[in-house]
Symmetry: C2
Subunit: 197 residues, 2 copies
């Protein structure tokens, strides 16, 4: 094995990590989420555009607002998680580019001036960041339960009424509860995914 | 610090890792890429759809075919990298669902029967996997140089002539060369990215 990452870390992030479907009754603090963010913020986006935004749904009121927009199969686990993150793309991420990309501040008013360009690039890069975030949750010793099954327009109207963000993924976060994991599903063999030219 | 991942691993994946813009003259083997894949394949996708495909561009002939479609600023570093991965979405990922998701093999012919649905879901999930892949490269002790600046249609015609895959991201892979890294650009503060409700 030539991988630099030690085997325990490989297990924590990849090999032994599973999507959790139930959660223990143990809180996840904002401080833990800050530690996750302070790690994953360094992972790359194009032009350092950093378009991901994270809405941490914790209070019973906010949770009720979210759960009604989840698909039926995702409601019990979302209700039962101590914390749920709504990951979204900031469609006006370009406003921060002058500070995020000091070597090319002009991109804000040239390449990223068009809303359509921003939405395409922002969505792609925020989705890369969603991948980093899921692994960051695991790095914190927590289980992640990412879910695509929700009413995107409903969530957007509920939480992003100003139209400046669009939801991408909802992620339950916590310590795994009873019977949290499904059996591991098969993965594709290397030869079917990777081709060398 | 309550993060479970040890500080050296945090540095390797996030804190000390940088996008590389030059590469050392040292090969990256298929065996190394296999080790990366055997780790990152476990990270989650919706319904375990696993739509990411990885084309490893190594030979001088394949490299020349790729470089012509890169934006001008990305050509020298792509030419100079020992290995470059074209990350793409398999638009027919649903064909593998019966083996990937034994608990719901019917999704292939219901939810994922429509090409438009497949492209939207496949692109999103393959992009999550692209995020995992970038961190997997770093986990292997290699530097990644992800690039969005390329002619997507050109790459697709060149490498995916059957129309069954669409390119998402091109990633140079290798040991960093001289002056490989730009100074770290600023990141957004926690308060500007994360909101607790």
């Amino acid at each position: 094995m030539t991988v630099a990452l030690d085997p325990a870390a490989q297990d924590l992030l990849f090999r032994e990590a599973h999507t959790a479907h139930t959660f223990a009754d143990e809180p996840v603090s904002d401080e833990q989420m800050r530690e996750v963010y302070e790690m994953v913020k360094y992972a790359p986006t194009a032009f350092n555009q950093s378009p991901l935004r994270i809405t941490l749904v914790r209070s019973p009121e906010a949770r009720a607002r979210l759960v009604q927009h989840m698909s039926e199969g995702n409601r019990p686990k979302t209700s039962g998680a101590p914390l749920t993150a709504v990951l979204s793309v900031d469609l006006e991420f370009h406003e921060r580019l002058p500070e995020l990309l000091p070597r090319a501040p002009g991109l804000k008013d040239t390449f990223f001036a068009e809303a359509e360009t921003r939405e395409a690039h922002g969505t792609f890069n925020a989705t890369l960041q969603a991948g980093y975030f899921i692994l960051g949750i695991r790095a914190a010793g927590l289980a992640a339960g990412p879910m695509s099954g929700f009413d995107r327009d409903g969530v957007d109207k509920e939480f992003f009424g100003d139209g400046k963000q669009k939801s991408l993924l909802v992620v339950n976060i916590g310590k795994p509860g009873e019977d949290a994991y499904r059996p591991r599903s098969p993965r594709l063999p290397y030869e079917d995914v990777c081709t060398t030219l």
